[in-house]
């Protein structure tokens, strides 16, 4: 197990980018792939893409981001990569349906994003879990996927 307890910088920092570039040509940059929610954590145990057992342990004021470099020496680097956030986009048929959908999403405590006349829900888990809940509104056309 490798304890990673510091964010050395971002992969895009000029000071780090050159060294990362050289290491990556030698195939020595390991990736820790994190979901949009896991990236919020301060302690986390997971394997890198090369199978290294990593234990992240950050101080409370520190925050992982896409591209955070957690280890860098002459032999290897370890870099955080945030998985793309998937959204479910929903379009209500009319004002009445919009009210209903907004009420429902709030009741489910889903995080939402407003984009014009669609409601976008970042998916934390399989899309089918969300579609299951929305089934009545999707079935009769009050709401459709955008």
């Amino acid at each position: 197990m490798l304890i990673l307890d510091r964010i050395l910088g971002q992969a895009s920092d000029p000071a780090l980018a050159d060294r990362l570039h050289d290491l990556s040509h030698a195939g020595q940059v390991e990736i820790l792939s994190l979901s949009g929610s896991d990236i919020q954590r301060h302690r986390l145990r997971l394997a890198s893409d090369r199978g290294t057992d990593c234990a992240i342990r950050l101080e409370r004021h520190q925050q992982l981001r896409n591209g955070s470099v957690l280890m860098l020496d002459a032999q290897r680097a370890i870099v955080v990569q945030m998985q793309d956030q998937q959204f479910l986009s929903l379009q209500p048929r009319d004002t009445a349906a919009a009210l209903e959908l907004g009420y429902f999403a709030g009741n489910m405590h889903w995080t939402v994003r407003f984009a014009g006349d669609t409601l976008q829900i970042p998916l934390n888990g399989p899309e089918t879990d969300y579609l299951e809940r929305l089934a009545p509104m999707l079935a009769d056309g009050r709401v459709q996927r955008a």
Partner: protein, 217 residues
Amino acid sequence: MSTALNALPLPQAHPGAARVGIGGPVGSGKTRLLEQLIPRFIARGIELAIITNDLATREDAERVQRSGLIDPQRVIPVETGACPHTAIREDPTLNLQMADALEARFKNLDLILIESGGDNLASTFSLDLVDYWIFVIDVAGGDDIPRKRGPGVLSCDLLVVNKYDLAPYVGVDLPRMRRESAQARDGRPVLFTNCATGDGVDAVVDAISRAVLFDQP
């Protein structure tokens, strides 16, 4: 491994406590689980503190303080008011302040356990507040709970199905509940416990230790 002089580790400041949430419906056994976890962590040499969230009373905190299991000063109540899950999800400020205060007061804390105020199946923990969270349901709540696929059951780091001793009395088919919990969790951990006796609780301690107390001997 490199043994260059400049690679020698500097003496480290204490890295701070891991924070672990325990959520789940009222009565599922969260406080009882706490009472089973406390002596086990203390026996492993873990420096521990507890936060309990209660609607409008301090009953859970007082119960744990009186238990004799832990220094009462290490147990702090948060009164959440009307909506207990808000205090662990949308606005965990109060809990964050309490956790920070505990760490300031007890410098060597390794672990803070945070019991939520009792919620419905939709409650989850903010990952701002905790590093890892457990959702406790119980067999007497019905064997259909895993099938209902509530967000708590689906998204927690560890699902604990408590009170398995009650299965014969409430007509619950335990093997089926095991199977359906595993399906709902899609391979992520599920443990069955009897927190009245402590059966199965060691496995919960092991799971927490592996996930967030990895720096402990």
